[in-house]
Symmetry: C2
Subunit: 341 residues, 2 copies
DNA sequence: GTGAAAGCGCTAACAA
DNA sequence: TTGTTAGCGCTTTCAC
């Protein structure tokens, strides 16, 4: 079976390629193509089930009307929510989305960037996984609009939108302290991950501001398994915490599992708090107090910033100014923090 | 800034386009291109940061090495898990994935199909949202390999892989009955959704097999909101159920919320069961007994089936046989079902 | 109102 | 061992 192209339509209708193209692009009027001709073309296209070949269009126009998005893990509900929102928002604006999963791996991310660039994307949103920036610099050199979301590199000339991770963690620890907790442990995610580091810094800053001696940071991955293992480890320590701060909800589930196994009741035996505010926190054995990330706002702003650049770029070839947007998250209070004043 | 193409490299190195192309494709040896030439080309490509233009390659080769995947909602953890697994598996096999979110809407799905086809995908995995099959038939006519996952149309000549929804629901209701429940209500998802209908049928079959008079099916969307509303409604009924079967975990969360608000304890006042077995079920106030969907197996088999077709198709232009694969899910027992014998 | 022809970046048949 | 050239499907300039 031969491919159906505008040539097929052209032959079947005895109308030139140019005219078919114009009709299909809805600019028939502009070129004052007779209604009769237009009609004939449209009918034939319909009959044949013609679908334009995007590759050809991209090649010709050097435009693909698509945006790339690189997330560290599609399996993580936080990121898949980002994907969902970005996809929907872009779709409304007539762009399509190419998603890539970097699997929290720098090299995979670098490959993903290449892959997306080779597909002629107009811009790219990245939640970076590592510390390398060479591939980002390549993008800048290519004049390809980039925006970071959730994680970022302050030193690069690249706009970013993110939860203020430091502030979120800081607030939570201050809150814990205000409830009388002096021994607060924290289970972190990937140590090299920027958002994680900021949260840990926020944790430490609050501890030290209040002049406490106890500080404990365990863990190294945003997974349930790691949360579980690290909590088991933590519970072996001589000096036990009165509260555990899980730096993500995935970690939290592991923490809860370990606590349950070892017979700890939340919040009676130990208090718990988390970062992410997933929808199911309300329904847990003990509903967990958590930092709510403004995920939808962040995603929307990122797109706004990116598309601004995409449009602006057309005009004079340079990028618009770097924007640094940090959104302060708030605490959603539930029942997992015990008052021990 | 001009685009970097093989032509740029060709000019800079005084080597023909063909040779550059061959070197870049790693077939230098086959054409016995001198190591010196190859080296020079490679170096220049590296220096320039050359990235091949996929649109041009697609156009030329009529191959894109990419597969489309249409899911009803990226925001639903079940589907985003499918995306995650499919993405990873395809990536390993050298294919890239184009994801589309149909938003549980038939027309959006039809648009998505067009969109994917226009991007020259080699095959497509669909979790269909509606009952229309015209767009699917178009795909068949185009000889484009299609596989259904999770939901399917028995009457179409299209392979499918899915949880045996009927069997899953049937098993669960039989189990509930075996624990002494005679009044079992069910909150369903989208009524027009095939997987949902199968589950409802399974529910009804088990009820009628046991000759009970009570049957209640409420709801019409796989969302927490709907689960919540429908449970509120259900609790208004004169005849109260002793057990509620939520046909998805999203629905379940709504059910639990309503139950909690109205002061019902699970499982003491009322038993609960669900479909999906999400990771967090273990940590709920009362861990919920649920049907575990073999999501990873399903995804992998689907890819296997699809790629078989993709390869096979090259050989003689027709599709390989239709496969109908239903996997029986199992019950994961937790504590939400009370024995009322 | 319509059409011819060039060219986007790439590959491959054919030539040398 | 390397190069010439046609052509994938489309848009657009220029021409009539």
């Amino acid at each position: 079976m031969k491919n159906i192209t505008i040539k097929t339509i052209s032959e079947n209708t005895q109308v030139s390629l140019t005219t078919v193209s114009r009709v299909m692009n809805g600019v028939a009027e502009k070129y004052r193509i007779s209604a009769k001709t237009a009609e004939r073309v449209l009918k034939e296209a319909e009959k044949l089930g013609y679908i334009p070949n995007q590759s050809a269009i991209n090649l010709r126009l050097k435009k693909s009307f698509s945006i790339g998005l690189i997330v560290p893990s599609l399996a993580n509900p936080f990121f898949s929510t980002v994907v969902s929102i970005v996809n929907k928002t872009l779709h409304e604006k007539g762009y399509s989305l190419l998603v890539a999963d970097s699997n929290e791996n720098e090299q995979t991310e670098i490959d993903a960037v290449k892959h997306l660039v080779s597909r002629n994307i107009e811009g790219i949103i990245i939640i970076p996984s590592g510390r390398k920036t060479d591939h980002i610099n390549q993008l800048i050199k290519r004049n390809l609009p980039v925006v970071f979301v959730d994680r970022y590199f302050k030193e690069l000339p690249v706009s970013y939108v993110s939860t203020d991770h430091f502030d979120g963690a800081f607030k939570m620890v201050e809150y814990l302290i205000s409830r009388g907790h002096k021994h607060i442990a924290c289970i972190q995610g990937g140590r090299h991950v920027m958002s994680n580091q900021e949260r840990v810094n926020g944790y430490k800053a609050a501890i030290s501001k209040n002049g406490f001696g106890y500080e404990y940071v365990g863990g190294n991955s945003f997974t349930m398994e790691d949360g579980y293992l690290e909590t088991k480890l933590l519970l072996q320590q001589r000096e036990k915490p009165t509260a555990i701060f899980a730096l993500s909800d995935t970690i939290l589930l592991g923490v809860l599992k370990a606590l349950k196994e070892d017979g700890y009741q939340v919040p009676d035996d130990i208090s718990v708090a988390s970062f992410d505010n997933s929808i199911y926190l309300d329904y847990l054995a003990c509903p967990v107090t958590s930092i709510s990330q403004p995920i939808s706002e962040i995603s929307q702003i990122a797109i706004r910033l990116l598309l601004d650049k995409v449009d602006y770029q057309g005009k004079d070839g340079s990028l618009s100014d770097k924007q640094e947007i940090l959104i302060s998250p708030s605490i959603i209070h539930r029942k997992s923090v015990k008052d021990i004043l």
